[in-house]
């Protein structure tokens, strides 16, 4: 019994001398990037400690509002009411774009279709186009894979491609991007959307046209940088104004040429 008491005392004691680490929380899309940036940053500045936690863009903003994170990473712009909530608490947010992400439409490599217009994509994901032969492919059922409703990628795809209309009822929803890649690899009729960074040789990326089929552009770092690829979104860091001093060193590291090199290494598009 005594031992337990001592143990409890030790545990409580150790909480008091707890040192404060910088916490970053939010979008799963930003996770691999932020994690690697944090890893490199800590290598250079060994006394700084960073904690990187995922959960989704919304989780990040909720944590920022509550004060349980220092930086919220997000794959979408802060929503109006999220901003209002933070302002209601007497704070204001600062927004920094740390990288861009080209949302890539992927299909199974066996699929003959290699390009689609935005309208066709919207038709597929809202359930109005159900067979590949309607868009110039083989006679095969289209299986659209979506992300879970919780992700910023889901929201961005919805606003950019579906023009804010809803996905079809009962779309396959995968808990993470990796699962989409896995499923598209295994399923001949599949179509899904992922960040460019997740693209690998087991899936095929489609060229996309946003002008009704006049010009199709394939996703790549180059086409995203010169803005010809249409489905590009910024990745953000958000922080409270009052924390500026605390978070600036890390953010300026991410924006430095070294940090931006990591950005392109991971497969995102550098800011500059």
């Amino acid at each position: 019994m005594k031992k337990i008491m001592i143990a409890i005392a030790l545990i409580i004691g150790s909480t008091l001398i707890q040192t404060q680490a910088q916490k970053i929380k939010g979008s799963d899309t930003c996770l691999p990037l932020t994690q690697k940036e944090a890893e490199n940053y800590m290598k250079a500045n060994s006394k700084n400690r960073m904690t990187v936690v995922g959960g989704g863009s919304g989780v990040g903003f909720a944590a920022l509002t509550e004060g349980s994170t220092d930086i919220a990473m997000s794959s979408r712009k802060i929503k109006f009411d999220e901003k209002m909530k933070i302002q209601d608490g007497g704070n204001s947010v600062k927004e920094v774009i740390i990288a861009y992400d080209a949302l890539t439409i992927i299909v199974n490599p066996k699929n003959k279709v290699s390009k689609l217009t935005r309208e066709q994509l919207a038709g597929i994901f809202s359930g109005k186009i159900t067979n590949w032969k309607e868009v110039g492919g083989a006679d095969m059922k289209i299986i659209p894979y979506s992300r879970e409703t919780s992700s910023g990628t889901y929201e961005f795809f919805k606003s950019s491609v579906l023009k804010n209309k809803n996905y079809m009822n009962g779309i396959m929803s995968m808990p993470a991007t990796g699962a989409i890649v896995q499923s598209v690899t295994q399923t001949p009729g599949a179509i899904g959307y992922i960040g460019l960074a997740y693209l690998n040789k087991n899936v095929k990326a489609l060229a996309v046209s946003y002008d009704g089929g006049k010009k199709y552009v394939s996703p790549s770092v180059a086409s995203a940088m010169d803005k010809t690829y249409p489905v590009v979104r910024p990745l953000y860091f958000y922080y409270l104004n009052k924390d500026q001093k605390k978070v600036t060193p890390f953010i300026s590291y991410v924006l430095s040429s070294e940090g931006q090199k990591t950005v392109s290494e991971i497969g995102f598009i550098p800011v500059k």
Binding site: I4, A7, I11, S14, T15, Q18, T19, A21, D28, L31, P32, L33, Q35, K36, A38, E39, M42, R49, M50, T51, V52, V53, G54, S68, M174, P175, A176, T177, G178, A179, V181, Q182, G195, A197, Y198, N200, N202, I266, G267
Partner: protein, 292 residues
């Protein structure tokens, strides 16, 4: 007469067929396990190394080790045990030694069974509502441990109860007859005898805790922590969650696949070791008690 013999023969044959079928089904179950184990070992063994066990994740989770996840899982195990063991054992003692056989015990037993049947995700919800939000612990070892502790409490109670039940009443009456109080009897006679069975049950509940993901999803688990937890209010990485995350997220699924298999293997080995340890202790203490 002849037809009787034929009848018996037919019965024998149908029996042989049925038994054969049962045997085949049983061996199939074993086969399934071996396939799963073999699959993980075959794919995971290559990535196990000293560096893998003691290193930190590197290069966007595609290289390096899983040390923080191992430490995190150990923290959660210890935390949940500190909470669940004393309460569970006391509860078991009360049910078996004090309460007698009335409606209260029946009620408690039903409640314990109910608690044991509740899905782990519901514990996750409850842990998030009570510990993380209401009590304000945040995502932390404390919240995760308490949630996991609640999850295994019924197991601890039941094992204690079974262990105590296995001790013949004559020991109790004997001790009481010698003038010992009830509490003394429990402390000096009953508990030492029941100890080996209690401990094996406890070890098995550790196995349960180490593999659970759903309860810690919203109460404790973190994707990446470059350092070990410093207090019980820190978040931790944990093996099962780590496996879930790297097999579904991460930019380079192919590259992190070997890490995923390796993590799965480590998890299975931990569970395996725990099972072996429990069996060993059961035997070891079993012999000791017999010799006394």
């Amino acid at each position: 007469m002849n037809t009787d013999i034929l009848n018996i023969k037919r019965k024998r044959r149908s029996q042989a067929i049925t038994f054969g079928l049962f045997r085949v089904l049983s061996y199939m179950v074993i086969l399934i396990l071996l396939v799963i184990l073999g699959f993980i070992i075959y794919n995971g063994a290559g990535s196990i190394s000293w560096n893998f066990l003691t290193g930190y994740p590197e290069d966007g989770m595609t290289k390096g080790g899983i040390f923080p996840a191992i430490v995190g899982t150990i923290c959660l195990i210890i935390g949940s045990m500190v909470f669940a063991f004393p309460i569970g054992i006391m509860s078991g003692i009360y049910i078996n030694e004090y309460a007698g056989n009335n409606w209260i015990v029946k009620f408690i037993r039903i409640m314990t069974n109910n608690l044991g049947a509740i899905p782990s995700i519901v514990f996750g919800l409850f842990g998030m509502a009570l510990f993380v939000n209401y009590l304000g612990f945040g995502d932390s070892i404390l919240a995760g441990s308490l949630t996991l502790g609640l999850l295994v409490l019924p197991v601890v109670i039941r094992t204690t109860e079974e262990a105590l039940k296995a001790i013949p009443d004559s020991f109790r009456t004997g001790s009481l007859a010698l003038g010992a109080s009830k509490l003394q009897t429990i402390r000096h006679v009953i508990l030492p005898m029941a100890f080996p069975n209690i401990i094996t049950g406890l070890i098995l509940s550790v196995g349960r805790v180490s593999g659970e993901t759903a309860p810690i999803l919203f109460t404790a688990a973190a994707y990446f922590l470059p350092r070990l937890p410093h207090s019980i209010f820190d978040q931790v990485m944990a093996l099962p969650y780590h496996l879930y995350v790297i097999s579904t997220s991460g930019t380079n699924i192919e590259a992190s696949k070997s890490i995923a298999y390796g993590t799965a293997l480590v998890l299975i080995v931990i569970v395996l070791l725990i099972n072996i340890l429990a069996n060993f202790l059961r035997k070891y203490f079993g012999n000791k008690v017999k010799m006394n």
